[in-house]
Every structure is written in structure tokens, then in C-alpha cells.
């Protein structure tokens, strides 16, 4: 590992000597933004290496969308620095716009136009020649499985098709940096999986991607690095593995008849799993080797003669990340009315 790191340093030095050193593709520091009463961003810092996928994970109102809106030049921050490919978004927004694509939770497409017309419109507005636009539209419709619906009005599209077209529209001008703001919020599991596959394919060719999501699973599946954002600041930052190591690979939930039962059992469980906490009638414990620890916990409970209502082993959810990192649950504050899309539960179904 040491040798490998030295090799990396060597590579970087080499790149610097050649004048090819890459600044982070996306660089944000001390970003603040206030909407009236609500402090949407209170000092966001992050850096995204070129060619990587960065997941911005947080609940509604945490500041994810606001961060993306600043980086895509839609709004100006109150303070702080935001750069895309080294270009300051407030100083030279027009140059930033040439290098970015944006797709979001609102599917910003024209309902009346056909799929093809939507893509061609974006192509024209990014100043590409007609022949290039026509070819690119065909290519994208094919790639996103929309060829059969290319000449139908979007009114006939399903939610998943609309999102796919929205994603395609953000790629018409081949932007090296892509922003996806909650690309799968509100989609059914099948459409979500389809979209994940498409996003993975897309980043395989070197596009830098900043993705916001409320789903830990989504960040886990897609992102190289994840930043957890809460109340307008980044509270944790690392690879999915690092974050999971912090909160346990799985979560063990032991439910009791009532809160008193849970309180009584806490000491017993904590002797096996030190991080255990009560939450009402439930004791929750982060564990690293699911089944084995679960058995130990059960044995300890049995030995103590306690009554167990149920036992669940599940993947950690966004809520668990928040409980671990902040000691509070993922709260929902709405800085903007259109930020209020409430999504279905984040965690995949727990195994009994």
C-alpha cells in the first residue's frame, strides 16, 4: 500500500511537471446561501476529483439542491467559492455552462414536445450544428431506450421515461462534468435500477459526476466518495466503506414489549455490542458481522432471561448514518417549497 501511494505521488508529480496537474473538477469552499429566514447553506466544503462520482447524501432541506444550483450557475451564493474545472461559477458562469450538464428531480423537459424535439432543442441551445444535433439525439434516444417513443409527445411518457429523457437532455452537448440532483427520487425500484445502470455506463467513460441523493444505497452503488450533508454543512466525507465502518456494516434491531423492557436489556446487549442504544421499545446496535454478533446477542439475552419481541438485521439507512454522525434523526427542513418532495423510505427491506 505504501509503495502504491508513493507511486501515486510520483504520478502526480510527473503530471505537475508536465503542466497537466488537474485541479479538482469541482471545488467548493465555505459556501453559504440564505433564502429569507432559512440558512440553506452554512459553509459547504467539498472537492471532487476528475473522473470520479461524488455522492452528496442528505435529507430534504439539507442543502443538496441549493449546492447543485450554485454549481450549475442557477443561483449565486452569498459567500464562498465554487469552481467547476477551475472556473469560478460567479465570475465566469457562461464558461461553466459550456462544461456542465444538469438533470434533476423535476425532469426539466417540455411536456408538449416529443422526446426527439426536446433533445434537439437542447442541442440547438448549446450551439451545435444541426447535423451533429440530429445524430446526437438519435444516439441518446437509442442509448436510453427511448427510440420507440422518440416522436411521441412527453405526455405519453411514464415517470421513468421522463427521467431518462431528462438525463439524456443533460448529455446532448457531452459535458465533462455532470450534476444529477436526486435522479431517482419518486421512481419505482425497476426504473431506479435501470437508471442506475445508465448512470454507471455514463461515468465509465470518464465523466465527473456529482450526484445528490437521499438514499444511502444509491450513494453506495454509484459513488466513489460520499459527503453527508446536514443543515447546510458537510458533516462527514469519505468512501462508502469508510462511512459504513463508522456506523457498522449492518444494523441489529431487537424489539421488546415496551421501553422498560428495552432499557432493562440495554446493559446486556451493550456488553456484546458497545454501540447499542435504545429507541423506544427497540434496542439498536451497529454490528460488523451481522449473523455472528446477532447469535451472541441472542445468547446473552437468553442467559439473562429477557423477553424478546423480535430481531431484525438490516442495512444501515440514511437515518442510521444521521444517528451515528449527529445523534439526531434526519430532519426535514424546507428552505424552498419545491424542495419538499417527500420520498419513500430509504433503506432496502430488512431481512428478518
Amino acid at each position: 500500500m505504501v509503495v502504491f501511494n508513493q507511486y501515486l505521488t510520483f504520478l502526480n508529480d510527473l503530471a505537475t511537471v508536465d503542466g497537466m496537474s488537474q485541479p479538482p473538477a469541482i471545488e467548493v469552499s465555505g459556501l453559504t446561501k440564505r433564502f429569507g429566514e432559512v440558512q440553506a447553506l452554512s459553509g459547504v466544503d467539498l472537492a471532487v476529483e476528475p473522473g470520479t462520482v461524488y455522492g452528496l447524501l442528505g435529507p430534504n432541506g439539507a442543502g443538496k439542491t441549493t449546492t447543485v444550483r450554485v454549481l450549475t450557475t442557477i443561483i449565486r451564493p452569498d459567500a464562498g467559492i465554487a469552481r467547476v474545472l477551475g472556473i469560478d461559477v460567479t465570475k465566469d458562469p457562461q464558461r461553466v455552462r459550456q462544461s456542465i450538464g444538469l438533470a434533476g428531480q423535476y425532469a426539466a423537459v417540455d411536456e408538449v414536445l416529443t422526446g426527439r424535439e426536446n433533445l434537439e432543442l437542447v442541442g440547438q441551445l448549446t450551439h451545435q450544428s444541426r447535423s451533429v444535433v440530429t445524430k446526437r439525439a438519435d444516439e441518446l434516444l437509442e442509448r436510453f431506450g427511448l427510440s420507440h417513443a422518440a416522436d411521441r409527445s412527453l405526455k405519453t411518457y411514464s415517470g421513468g421515461m421522463r427521467r431518462r429523457l431528462d438525463l439524456a437532455a443533460s448529455l446532448v452537448h457531452r459535458p465533462p462534468v455532470l450534476f444529477l440532483d436526486e435522479p431517482t427520487t419518486g421512481l419505482d425500484p425497476k426504473s431506479r435500477n435501470d437508471l442506475w445502470d445508465m448512470i454507471r455506463e455514463l461515468v465509465a467513460d470518464g465523466t465527473t459526476l456529482l450526484l445528490t441523493t437521499q438514499y444511502l444505497e444509491e450513494a453506495d452503488v454509484l459513488a466513489d466518495r460520499i459527503a453527508v450533508i446536514d443543515r447546510g454543512t458537510v458533516i462527514a466525507d469519505g468512501t462508502a466503506a469508510e462511512l459504513k465502518a463508522q456506523m457498522g456494516a449492518t444494523v441489529l434491531e431487537i424489539s421488546f414489549v415496551d421501553a422498560r423492557g428495552a432499557d432493562a436489556a440495554l446493559a446486556t446487549i451493550a456488553s456484546v455490542v458497545p454501540g447499542a442504544e435504545t429507541d423506544g421499545a427497540v434496542v439498536r446496535a451497529p454490528v460488523y458481522d451481522g449473523a455472528k454478533t446477532a447469535m451472541e446477542v441472542l445468547r446473552a439475552i437468553d442467559a439473562a432471561g429477557l423477553d424478546v419481541g423480535g430481531l431484525t438485521v438490516r442495512e444501515p439507512s440514511l437515518d442510521d448514518v444521521f444517528l451515528t454522525l449527529t445523534g439526531h434523526r434526519a430532519e426535514e427542513i424546507d428552505p424552498r417549497p419545491d424542495d419538499s418532495d417527500v420520498a419513500p423510505a430509504a433503506a432496502p427491506g430488512g431481512a428478518q
Partner: protein, 292 residues
């Protein structure tokens, strides 16, 4: 573990190649024109695909023609015949009512999120507004042509000669263009299409009805005449009327006190109104768009 190496190898050429491909074609002005045309085309496609918009655009003015020509018209006495008096008014009324659609269209775009995408594209921002008002000029031209044909069918016989008739129509269309910018500002300030309509209607209603559009201003009570005779809809409609109907008819209208000034004066006043409205509302709308 190969990601860092890949990033060095792949992203350098990509970022370098991205900008020139976009910067390659055209100057800022030609971009502005192209962006405006692309968006105007998009807005016009809406008119051809949404039946409600077509009804609002064409059927409503036709009903007004029939209503005033055959229902109310018989009791309105005007020298030269009411249908000749009515039709230039109808052109004015149609474009004034139609201007509301600029506000509704923009408000709906803002609510729908597509403007969010436009703002993230390297397009010329003002073309969102110019594409909207430009499309409305095209739509209004179509409506005026159709209304001219409808008018001819119900007995409209202007004697101004083709150049003056065309000039009269052009004046109405230029006024409509100026109004679109007022309505663009309304559309940018309100939350949705319904709200845009709610704000626009109370503005447009008195401007249309307390005017020379359907009736003679000189038959109104004195306190109303002060407003009705000088407000821009009357000025523009009378200018178009004078041009389209010809000098003889204008002289007759002036003799009975329906025209308070010469056609030339109405035309010059119209141009002044159009210029003033544009000078005030174009910057206001652009500023509001950049702000919101």
C-alpha cells in the same frame, strides 16, 4: 485501484476538448438570434399541439366579431357603417387579450422547471424572453390575417389601400409586441399560469372596453372620455382604423367627434407609446428574469 491513473489519462483530453466544440460556431449576436429562433419555434409548436390554446387564440375573437357585428352592432351608429369601424378594433382587442398568453406561458415554464435547465445551458439568457415575445408576434400575425378574412366575410370593406392596410396591421402587431413585454414581466413575477391570468385580466379588461375598440368614445360620459380617448389601446386602434379605412372615412369620424385628432397624429402617438412601453418594460423584464 486504477481510478487515479484513469482520471489523469482520461479527463485531461476531455476537459480540453469540451469548450472548443461549443465555442466553434458563431458570435454572441448570432447565438442570440439562433437561441431566440429555437425557443420561438418551441413556443409555436405548443400552439399547434394544444387545442385549448388554439381555441383561445382563434375561436374567441371570431365570437367577438359575430357578437358585435350581429348582436350589439345594430344599435351602435357610426359613420361609414359599424362593421368597418369594428374590425380594426377587433384586431386591437384580439392582440391585447392574446398578450395574456405571454404571461401564462412564461409563468408555466418557470413553474415547470424547464427554465432551470435553460439557465444551466450556455445559451443567451435573454432569448428565453425574446423567443416568447417573438413567437407571440408570429401567432398574432396569423390571428390578424385570419380575422381579416373573417372580417371580409362579414362585410368589412376597408378603402385605405393595401400599403396603408398593411401599415395599420403592422402598427397593431408592434403594439402587441410591446404588450408582450409587459406581460412577460407579469409572468415572471407570479407563481403560475392561473395567477398570471388573474393579474393580466383586470389590466386588459378596462384597456379593451373603455376604449374605442367597440364603441365611440364620444358617446361615453365625460369623466370616462378623458381616459378612454387617450389610453394606448384607443390610440393604436384609431391609428389602424384611420390607415385602413382611408382618409375619407377618417374625416367623417373626426367630423362627428369620434376621432379627436388626425390619423397621422394617432400613428405618431402610437409609435411613441410602443417605444415608451418597450423602453420601460424590456429592461424591467430582463432584470426580473436574471434575478428570479
Amino acid at each position: 485501484m486504477t481510478a487515479p491513473e484513469a482520471s489523469i489519462a482520461v479527463t485531461v483530453p476531455r476537459t480540453a476538448a469540451a469548450s472548443p466544440s461549443i465555442e466553434a460556431t458563431g458570435s454572441k449576436l448570432s447565438w442570440a438570434v439562433k437561441d431566440t429562433l429555437a425557443l420561438a419555434k418551441r413556443n409555436l409548436l405548443h400552439y399547434t399541439r394544444v387545442p385549448q390554446l388554439l381555441v383561445f387564440t382563434f375561436i374567441q375573437p371570431i365570437m367577438f366579431v359575430l357578437l358585435f357585428r350581429y348582436v350589439f352592432g345594430g344599435s351602435i351608429a357610426v359613420p361609414g357603417g359599424y362593421v368597418n369601424y369594428l374590425m380594426p378594433g377587433i384586431f386591437g382587442q384580439t392582440v391585447v387579450f392574446g398578450a395574456t398568453s405571454t404571461a401564462i406561458g412564461l409563468a408555466e415554464d418557470l413553474g415547470g422547471g424547464i427554465i432551470e435547465r435553460f439557465r444551466s445551458l450556455p445559451m443567451v439568457r435573454m432569448s428565453v424572453l425574446a423567443g416568447r415575445t417573438g413567437a407571440d408576434v408570429v401567432r398574432n400575425t396569423g390571428v390578424v390575417i385570419v380575422m381579416f378574412i373573417v372580417g371580409f366575410a362579414v362585410g368589412f370593406r376597408p378603402h385605405g389601400g393595401v400599403p396603408r392596410i398593411v401599415l395599420g396591421a403592422a402598427l397593431v402587431l408592434a403594439f402587441a409586441f410591446a404588450l408582450s413585454w409587459v406581460m412577460a414581466l407579469v409572468g415572471l413575477k407570479v407563481a403560475n399560469g392561473e395567477a398570471a391570468q388573474a393579474v393580466a385580466f383586470p389590466l386588459m379588461f378596462p384597456l379593451t372596453f373603455a376604449s374605442s375598440v367597440f364603441v365611440r368614445v364620444d358617446t361615453m360620459p365625460g369623466w370616462l372620455q378623458g381616459f378612454a380617448a387617450h389610453q394606448p389601446v384607443t390610440v393604436v386602434v384609431n391609428a389602424a382604423r384611420g390607415l385602413m379605412l382611408g382618409p375619407e372615412a377618417s374625416a367623417q369620424l373626426r367630423a362627428v367627434g369620434t376621432f379627436t385628432t388626425s390619423t397621422t397624429s394617432y400613428v405618431l402617438q402610437s409609435v411613441a407609446w410602443i417605444a415608451a412601453i418597450l423602453a420601460i418594460f424590456v429592461p424591467l423584464a430582463v432584470r426580473q428574469f436574471n434575478k428570479s
